[in-house]
Subunit: 333 residues, 4 copies
Amino acid sequence: MSDLDLKQFSVRTDLALEAKEIAEKGGAVIPGVSATTLDDNGIRITTLSVDNEHGSQAIGKMIGNYVTLEVPGLRKHDSSLQDRVSTHFAKQFELFLQRIGVHQNAKALIVGLGNWNVTPDALGPIVVENVLVTRHYFELMPNDVAPGYRPVSAVSPGVLGITGIESSDIIKGIVEQSMPDFIVAIDALASKAIERVNTTIQISDTGIHPGSGIGNKRRGITEEIMGVPVIAIGVPTVMFASTIVNNCFEMMQKHFQSQTSNTGQILGLLDQMEENERLELVREILSPMGHDLLVTPKEVDEFIEDIGNIIASGLNAALHQAVDSTNVAAYTH
Amino acid sequence: MSDLDLKQFSVRTDLALEAKEIAEKGGAVIPGVSATTLDDNGIRITTLSVDNEHGSQAIGKMIGNYVTLEVPGLRKHDSSLQDRVSTHFAKQFELFLQRIGVHQNAKALIVGLGNWNVTPDALGPIVVENVLVTRHYFELMPNDVAPGYRPVSAVSPGVLGITGIESSDIIKGIVEQSMPDFIVAIDALASKAIERVNTTIQISDTGIHPGSGIGNKRRGITEEIMGVPVIAIGVPTVMFASTIVNNCFEMMQKHFQSQTSNTGQILGLLDQMEENERLELVREILSPMGHDLLVTPKEVDEFIEDIGNIIASGLNAALHQAVDSTNVAAYTH
Amino acid sequence: MSDLDLKQFSVRTDLALEAKEIAEKGGAVIPGVSATTLDDNGIRITTLSVDNEHGSQAIGKMIGNYVTLEVPGLRKHDSSLQDRVSTHFAKQFELFLQRIGVHQNAKALIVGLGNWNVTPDALGPIVVENVLVTRHYFELMPNDVAPGYRPVSAVSPGVLGITGIESSDIIKGIVEQSMPDFIVAIDALASKAIERVNTTIQISDTGIHPGSGIGNKRRGITEEIMGVPVIAIGVPTVMFASTIVNNCFEMMQKHFQSQTSNTGQILGLLDQMEENERLELVREILSPMGHDLLVTPKEVDEFIEDIGNIIASGLNAALHQAVDSTNVAAYTH
Amino acid sequence: MSDLDLKQFSVRTDLALEAKEIAEKGGAVIPGVSATTLDDNGIRITTLSVDNEHGSQAIGKMIGNYVTLEVPGLRKHDSSLQDRVSTHFAKQFELFLQRIGVHQNAKALIVGLGNWNVTPDALGPIVVENVLVTRHYFELMPNDVAPGYRPVSAVSPGVLGITGIESSDIIKGIVEQSMPDFIVAIDALASKAIERVNTTIQISDTGIHPGSGIGNKRRGITEEIMGVPVIAIGVPTVMFASTIVNNCFEMMQKHFQSQTSNTGQILGLLDQMEENERLELVREILSPMGHDLLVTPKEVDEFIEDIGNIIASGLNAALHQAVDSTNVAAYTH
């Protein structure tokens, strides 16, 4: 990842939910952005829409639809919670397709972005290995496919360092040859908050843009480029060391504020700074020595496997009427 | 693999060398096919060309160039032999490119055919993971690339069961986007002879055709389809149980013939049969019960890894002037 | 594997069922060996006991209990069949423990023999990675373990080439330190018949002896050496090329005999030979050129994974009362 | 890892070098601890000995010998630096063996501690897979072993959650059966400083104690328990989120102090705190919400593979006279 890419992470977030929270700090109300929230026993689902240019400017996210599942307990390797998340994800994804007008027989191409040799970046490829692929049955024996399935294909384009070709170009080539009606692109993200790493899943219809995700994409995967709608599924799997430090400062401030009225002197200069200013300072201190690492939890292998299975199961149930939450596990490893 | 594909294996071989040997049985001389052989201490290199339609008909292989490296000791995990094979392969591949008129700066796309989840079919993907990829340097900073390199990209398109899309279509899409000057396609083959499994490497310029290789390709990877020359690298990694039986019959016949003059009664009815007829019989007997399995040696993991590294090292040295046999190992895992 | 080990495979089988079949050829009745058979829709279960020295001599297997599950369809990757096999295996294993007097709270050590780097030899290690391990809960918080579980530990000792130590010695050391009440040892076997490869599971209480399995064990894993009962679970995963040839000869003979009365001249000299004599001939012909390979089906990765999961699920249900066939899948990957 | 174990990390370090640095803060001179340092172009080697009980108390490390290689550039995937580190490591390890009186023919058992399913904890098992194992040659054909080798065996005992048995017990059992003269135990550690993660290797002769390493060992691997000397090789591969925060505070303080004279008000309350007190505060703030994660760099797969190969190559050269820095690569993957 080039320094250029890293810069971008410092000033923006890939999650619309976070962008809205940041914009609303200090109590601002943002016209042009609407959101509803649903809680189900440890799973919070936020349906957010950026309705106009005003809202888009205010939170720095494109006009479009965003759904976020937040599951703080997801790092606990609890298989019954995982099943519930998968079922919720399937339902939300199905509703999302309806909302943006994707027909139930529309042909899907699932794209697993990221580097399969770098565990926290391997989420996309893991999902691709576990989804139910059916397009070839429709091509080779269209009359024999049972009802309740749609044509689904799936590829992992790899990353620039492995292929020498932009993943955007690889996908465009495949789209032109295989002609799907829409694309579902899964990507690992860098998080702005410790608590979101491997606990949050975002669905959006605004495509994938250069500088998003962990990998160093230089060209986007968007409806404009691909010619068909692109639904992105993003999961934060890494964070910068500076993010951790900055998060902790904030928690400290809140902690002390609740204990004393004389907040001015608690963290000294840091108290005076705005969040972005403080983050910039932390990065200036850590970066020169190469200490602003992108880090991931020690249990990354298990977390990526678990979330990969949740998304694959959810996609199988959402994309095929014949697959539902009771038999969904049979379709993944 | 469908029954249809299996049928094809019974009447043809992917190796031009074998096809020629079969056609020459009984002492026939084949006009239109020429071959020269070079031996170097356990490595036999045969350069074969099918020059005209007559030769093509006679041996059942397309007009074109074929180079075969036969290394009976390759299954012995001998690293100094492996280095020698890699060096020979590199030299032969470089000569091959010259012979068919591929310029030394021509842009290469390396394609690893086959299924990475099926070890004996994973040769292509393993090569792709180990070759030196440079195309992105030429794209992103063309003035900074050191002399002695050419643009090389590499992809593993997967198989129909994983992607739902013909590998031929995936490659065509990528070719149209990334515009290489030629393709190098690596594929695992089914062998007609026990002794060739994981010991033989064939280079050819006739492309890859449906029914060749282990996987069930329905469309070819040829210059006609791709618009650029296709150099195929094939390695036999599996064989049918019926092949083993048929090979053994032949060895038995030779064994007995050297011991007795009364050859007529040794193997009874089998003595009377032609090779193809006998193979057909064996397959008729094994197939109904599902016993005509495609098998691979027990040590398949190690064999595929070893040959994958030989080919990757050889390609690195052949494609880049700056990489030679003394530093080639540094460019693979 | 040394030539010595290979020799042993030619004259013996690791499956008591096969040994009995061979001994009974020509209609012999074997006193001292009793067997009952149960068929359930594609699964055949044979419970066999060698009751005395006479029976042991006759079939070349030790006095003891043997249960075999034969499932010809197991190579078809049918998950509902796999579930049924797992359930049957669990029930048979539980009955087996009762029959040989292993108490339901007896402490188990599960041993996965074989080389994890050689896929067809990796069955044991795969089972070990998927069984439910509980011993440490009993050691660390004995009062908090829910009812319905027994102490189970599990290790994969590796092979001589990886560790430099006999697996028998490693296990003995672990047994002395951890003091289990019995051992369950899983091992991959070489098959005498194409149709048994990855379709047959044998449970026995006679331990594991040098020369059995694929790996080159020089010391046994037996009650005599370990001091506690050893239950072996064996699955044929490889076969010799010579086995395939010999199997095919036999099928040919039967095929021709059903078509003609003049059987004498069909396969010439081969007709006159006994099975062992013929196998010896085949091996003499294939071996000198290194062609008597141990081979495994092309799909070995999938087959080993599938059977590993069947055995792990079955052991979990058999060893723990709290785990049964309805929730067994939750305890394996 | 239990909360208990986590606590221990907060107050101690596994690296003697760090312990000495912490104790020397403020300029204290520590009698009973001596150290010499050697620098070679990006590699710093510190040879440290804790000579008496006084020194041991002062820095909180046992009496014994410690050698540390610090290589800040090791995360840059530079293969020529890696070769140099491996050569230095080999030389230091050989000197270490001489210093503590291990004879050049003494039999070694290499133990790879940690969990092979958790990448940052898999260092030990990766080393074990790559070392040259020779013990079985000495056992099976003692007269045929070439000069320049010693008997070396190697095992990865796994972790409690996989085996149900303490790794200490497994090793003790194997030691009693295979009777090595000394043990080399490789373990992944938690770091107290960002800059040490995957850049530092420590050799020591004080064994491995409960609470050290990443895994939750409850019993030690020491000469007292094993009956033979234990040489530990430790590499920090993970760090706590709180460590990152605390490191950053310290860097901030230094940064500001160099810019202003009025240091008292810069970080407010934090300026007044001692390091341990401040770390405690950070942990109190992060822990309740489960945010004091153990994290590892995103590129963990590559880092662990690289350092595993360095250590394996180094051990091969150090343990066998016949293997040296010019041919060492041939003995690892």
